[in-house]
């Protein structure tokens, strides 16, 4: 069984008007099943309101499914006695960098999780050091978080989760509020985590280009999983992605446009090199 498994998960919440009367029920997550294996890099794509963040909060036992079950490392997230263990195994990084840093000094923030877990002091220091080094923020350990850039703050948040020694990290739109430079920094750190530290990564985003290195991509729409496959499989379906209010990287779009004009190109081109290779290779003559 995988590290994260969801079976037929449904999450509903009740909308109320100003007087508190029930106006209706919204189904934010609708019959979602997925299975993530240890060490995988999974991306969940979707437009705002597609249910991707709601789904993510189930993995950390912040939300419990209305129907269906979520298992993290074999533990049912509805089991109250396991909540803290689940939260330690599956760490979570949120969207707004300012609203998740608790410490006033970088290193103290990274130590917050291990402190809560009751880790001995000496080991906390070791964990803080290795986590900060893993995200390349060690030299900022004595700084105030308020003086860091958005990308740096998010890397500190990632280190804060890493210090809890999780098996899996869920990142809920960690780049949505960052500029391109910060976005690159964070994605680089996340990839290193997955490849070097072998942590399972679930990256939730609406930026397509951040998912090209994922092992598997899920596209959500209306609370359901609308598409599922490798990045190449997903990106070859340009029309479908546009229908789902998503963006396609310009390379893929250009390749698609050229194909439409009758040029023969491989499907699902993801990088500048791939397209250049395809174009400068066979068809030049």
């Amino acid at each position: 069984m995988g590290i994260i498994r969801a079976k037929d998960v449904v999450y509903e919440y009740i909308r109320r008007d100003e007087e508190g009367n029930v106006e209706g029920i919204t189904r934010a997550v609708d019959q979602v099943s997925l299975d993530v294996r240890q060490g995988e890099f999974i991306a969940i794509l979707g437009h705002n309101g597609s249910g991707k963040s709601t789904l993510a909060k189930h993995i950390n036992a912040i939300l419990n499914p209305t129907e269906g079950t979520v298992w993290v490392d074999g533990m049912d997230t509805r089991d109250d006695t396991k909540v803290w263990e689940i939260r330690q195994r599956a760490g979570m990084v949120f969207q707004n960098p300012d609203n998740q840093i608790i410490g006033q000094v970088v290193e103290e923030d990274v130590g917050f999780g291990p402190e809560n877990m009751g880790i001995p002091t000496k080991e906390i220091w070791e964990r803080v050091e290795e986590s900060l080094k893993a995200v390349g923020m060690y030299e900022f350990r004595k700084h105030s978080p308020n003086k860091l850039s958005g990308g740096q703050k998010q890397r500190v948040s990632i280190a804060g989760v890493l210090a809890m020694h999780p098996k899996c990290i869920v990142l809920d739109e960690p780049t949505a509020m960052l500029d391109p430079r910060g976005r690159k920094e964070v994605i680089r750190a996340v990839r290193a985590l997955n490849q070097v530290e072998e942590v399972t990564v679930v990256l939730i985003t609406h930026y397509m280009e951040e998912t090209i290195h994922a092992d598997k991509v899920f596209v959500m729409d209306g609370g359901r999983i609308a598409m599922e496959g490798t990045p190449r499989e997903i990106f070859s379906q340009v029309e479908r992605l546009k229908e789902l209010r998503l963006d396609v990287p310009q390379v893929t779009l250009l390749a698609y446009e050229l194909q439409n004009r009758g040029m023969k190109l491989p499907r699902g081109i993801l990088t500048v090199e791939e397209l250049a290779d395809a174009l400068s290779g066979s068809g030049v003559r």
């Binding site: 437009h47 310009q250 250009l254 050229l258 174009l279």
Partner: protein, 284 residues
């Protein structure tokens, strides 16, 4: 009729040991009706620059002329200037405060001292312009979706009928579709009303299709100020300051170095496809 920025510098905390030069000797002229993109990463001074244009921040040195008048003149009405140069801040939905969307949009024109009928007329018009459906007008602004909130907030500035509209990162935090819709709407506005528009962004790709001119800011200075294709052709220098040209530029340059005779100045997908087809002698 134009905005002229004449040797403007701005220093944060000028009299303290922590003084930081946010703007360093900026000179530029923005003629009427132009659609300008101001690009730079966080901390490049782009937001500080636009806040000078409606008098929110006063330059440490230099002058700003609005339609030929120095806005720092003692008899210049800076309060009125804020109605003529509308500024939509980043995450503008964070300023919504009224009980319903319509009253919130009325806040701006009401502050201009217009009579009630005119206020309501302008607010209605502005909400229409941003494409917000009528049934949302009397809802609480806090019940709208992210994209709708953003539109309502933009309408709040539009209702003041500014001659110049400045938008600071109007697409931040929106999903791709939401981003395209807002940008499209802004372009429509510019076409229909001939308003001067300044779009502040950190993404070249976002603005490439829409603007007539790009000003690239770096460390409080203007690095480039030209038409998009000229700016993108300096993509290596852009990279040095942490910015990037649209992917198309990279593809075309890569193809060029591999000996394909393409026009590297194409900026949109359509243009790029055209030049590639031409170079490859393809019928398309």
């Amino acid at each position: 009729m134009s905005i002229i920025v004449d040797h403007v510098s701005y220093i944060y905390g000028a009299d303290t040991p922590l003084a930081v030069t946010a703007l360093d000797d900026i000179c530029l002229e923005i003629p009427d009706g132009q659609f300008v993109g101001i690009i730079g990463h966080t901390g490049s001074g782009k937001s500080t620059l636009v806040q000078h244009l409606n008098g929110l921040i006063r330059a440490t040195s230099g002058h700003i002329y609005f339609n030929g008048e120095d806005i720092y003149d003692s008899d210049f009405d800076r309060k009125k200037l804020r109605g003529r140069v509308g500024l939509v801040f980043q995450y503008p939905e964070h300023q919504l405060f009224e009980v319903d969307v319509f009253s919130d949009v009325c806040f701006g024109p009401k502050n201009l001292g217009l009579d009630r009928k005119e206020v309501e007329l302008r607010s209605y018009e502005a909400l229409r312009k941003v494409g917000l459906p009528d049934e949302l007008f009397y809802q609480s602004p806090f019940e709208l979706s992210g994209g709708q909130k953003r539109r309502a907030a933009i309408a709040g500035v539009l209702a003041m009928k500014p001659e110049v509209l400045i938008l600071d990162e109007p697409t931040a935090g929106l999903d791709p579709k939401g981003r395209d819709e807002i940008l499209y709407q802004i372009k429509q506005l510019q076409k229909e009303s001939g308003m001067t528009i300044l779009l502040v962004s950190h993404s070249m790709e976002d603005v490439a299709e829409y603007v007539d001119r790009i000003i690239v800011m770096n460390r409080g200075r203007i690095l480039f100020d030209n038409v998009p294709r000229e700016v993108f052709s300096r993509y290596r220098e852009l990279e040095e300051v942490g910015l990037a040209a649209p992917q198309v530029t990279y593809i075309l340059n890569e193809l060029k170095t591999r000996g394909l005779n393409v026009d590297v100045n194409a900026t949109t997908i359509g243009e790029a496809a055209d030049t590639i087809c031409m170079a490859k002698g393809h019928g398309g």
